[in-house]
């Protein structure tokens, strides 16, 4: 992509996102906010799928951890987002450190199943929290911002989410090009060789796992605030599958792919469920077809279009 063209697109995108609150009704604005939130989670998952070559089927657990931590802390009387959000994200990161530490001793299909099993464990923890409504979940009062932002103003919340998404997006772009990111990708390509030049893959993968868990937790915090309600469903395994779908619908291995995929997925399930009660069937069909017909090819095509990727992988 030549720089002129790319900058034009970026400016256009910026204009669209800035104008959105005035062009859209509240429902659509919330939908876009939701896309951004899932975009954060999907970027986190993509860090593992696309850059570390690991497929986690349990990242909804961190979405849930973030949401529950935020909800429980708020319930305990902490209201400020400046306190609750970092703590909740840290809870997600801590959970990811433990689960990642255990799961990353394996790889491939084994990793997929172990992450799934650990996520189920966390799901059952949520379900057994009687003080927090058990399976029914509990309500969360939106966190406050020291009076700077009105948390119940949809536009303000949208801009806040947009800003967070943008910062995370730019940070992740740096991270994947950083020495850490290069080590992570090198481990994906050839773990044995990386060790043979002196870098153990485990630590880099674990940090990537923690980062992606923290991002999912952040998304969980935002989603809990947007929804105002928290249920164990946030951490269910179909939700984990949906996160992977988002990565696939975008383009694994590009940070913007996570954002794009989340947007497509949220829009798709919204549209399909308005058209038919059997939307799950059509969603499944689309996923299967996407994998079968276009799976590798689109990804390859998009990679070829981006000269930077071809140069350094």
């Amino acid at each position: 992509m030549n720089p002129m063209f790319r900058n034009t697109i970026l400016v256009a995108l910026a204009a669209i996102f800035a104008a959105a609150p005035w062009a859209l009704d509240e429902f659509s604005l919330n939908l876009v906010t939701r896309m951004l939130i899932f975009g954060i989670a999907a970027m986190g998952v993509d860090l593992l799928v696309g850059f570390a070559g690991l497929v986690p089927l349990g990242h909804a657990a961190f979405l849930g951890l973030g949401a529950y931590a935020a909800g429980i802390l708020t319930d305990m009387g902490l209201e400020s987002a400046f306190v609750v959000w970092p703590l909740a994200i840290m809870v997600g990161a801590l959970g990811a450190a433990i689960i990642g530490g255990l799961s990353l001793r394996s790889s491939g299909l084994y990793f997929i199943m172990i992450t799934l099993a650990f996520a189920q464990m966390i799901y059952y923890v949520f379900q057994s929290l009687r003080a927090y409504g058990g399976d029914d979940g509990f309500a969360l009062t939106r966190n406050t911002f020291a009076g700077l932002i009105d948390p119940y103003d949809s536009r303000a919340f949208y801009f806040l989410t947009l800003a967070i998404t943008l910062v995370i997006f730019l940070l992740l772009l740096r991270v994947v090009a950083s020495p850490f990111g290069v080590a992570l990708r090198a481990a994906r390509d050839n773990e044995a060789r990386l060790a043979a030049v002196g870098l153990p893959a485990f630590g880099y993968r674990l940090v990537a796992f923690i980062l992606s868990g923290a991002l999912c937790a952040f998304a969980g915090v935002l989603l809990a605030n947007l929804t105002g309600y928290i249920t164990p469903g946030y951490g269910s395994w179909p939700q984990s599958g949906e996160l992977l779908m988002m990565v696939l619908l975008g383009t694994a291995g590009t940070i913007w792919g996570g954002l794009l995929g989340a947007a497509i997925f949220v829009a798709l399930s919204e549209v399909l469920s308005e058209v038919s009660d059997h939307w799950m069937f059509y969603l499944g069909l689309l996923i299967v077809l996407r994998v079968l017909l276009a799976g590798g090819e689109t990804t390859k095509l998009l990679k070829r279009l981006d000269p930077r990727r071809r140069a350094d992988g």
């Binding site: 779908m245 696939l248 499944g284």
Partner: protein
């Protein structure tokens, strides 16, 4: 807990373990031979239930319905393999996960489109009604006993298939020795089809056995799939023996955990830990042996 109650609970655990084994073995075989993770196994469990219920209703006989249902299962498993899975063997794991996840969604909702949202009925066949006295004072439902024995017999048959036959030899050779198998002049595509059908039908049969004691309804296979995946992980991917040991372990832990933990730790905590006991056992085993019981 009295001794007779203990015996009864052992039988309960055995029966749950046997059903899990049938589902898990399909997953582990497909992994071991084709290096593919199959999340649609739960859908096959559900299809087993629906197909047997429908075939039994259509023929008015469980014993006629059974072979018909199994035949239909074979057709469905073949279609899945030929139309979808076949194209995924060489693909990255994420494609496999997502395509089989998509299949799961399609089957779950497809069942609703075909059979409607109301659950369908499946009775215990008349010959297996009633209960037997295991020990004085311990009456145990014949059907549950039959399920345990039948699933156990399938397990034994599978053991012989794998250890004594040519197909078994090829299965044991596993995914790493693909070239060797090809050198033997075996049609790999046909082998894979056979293995998937075998695994799928075992899962479907588990659903058929489960039908009369559970609800034949959309999504009925999903919780079983998750437990079966846990068995596969504990047992060691690709290991049929490992899956068997793990399924028994999970069946027993689940059964006794649900009974004993609330008594020992109080209703709230005990119940919560009982829900997680299977996963806690899994975590403990993985800390001890990261690649499962069957690994060295």
């Amino acid at each position: 807990m009295t001794f007779s109650l203990f015996v009864e609970q052992v039988f309960n655990g055995l029966q749950l373990g046997m059903l899990l084994f049938l589902v898990a073995v399909g997953v582990t075989l497909v992994f071991g031979v084709m290096n593919l993770v199959n999340l649609s196994q739960g859908a096959l469990v559900m299809m087993g239930g629906f197909l047997l219920a429908t075939a039994t209703k259509a023929t008015s006989s469980y014993w006629l319905g059974l072979p018909l249902g199994i035949a239909a299962l074979i057709v469905i498993a073949m279609l899945i393999e030929l139309l979808v899975l076949r194209r995924l063997y060489a693909r990255p794991h994420i494609d496999q996960v997502l395509a089989t996840f998509g299949l799961m969604l399609m089957f779950n909702e497809g069942a609703v489109m075909i059979w409607g949202r109301d659950p369908v009925f499946m009775a215990i066949p008349a010959a297996l009604e009633g209960s037997v006295t295991l020990l004085p004072g311990v009456a145990y439902p014949i059907y549950r006993l039959a399920v345990t024995i039948f699933a156990g017999a399938l397990g034994v048959a599978l053991h012989f298939l794998i250890s004594r036959t040519r197909l078994g030899m090829l299965i044991r050779a596993g995914a790493d020795k693909r070239e060797m198998i090809q050198l033997l002049g075996v049609d790999i595509a046909f082998l894979y089809l056979m293995v998937f059908c075998l695994g799928g039908v075992l899962g479907g049969v588990a659903g058929m056995l489960l039908g009369p004691i559970s609800a034949v309804t959309t999504g009925m296979g999903d919780p079983i799939l998750i437990l079966a995946l846990v068995c596969v992980v504990i047992g060691g991917l690709g290991s049929v023996g490992g899956a068997f040991v793990a399924a028994m372990l999970v069946g027993m832990c689940d059964t006794f955990g649900r009974v004993l933990l609330p008594q020992a730790l109080g209703a709230g905590t005990g119940q919560a830990i009982a829900n997680m006991i299977v996963y806690l056992v899994m975590a403990a085993i993985l800390i001890w042996r990261p690649a499962g019981l069957a690994s060295r």
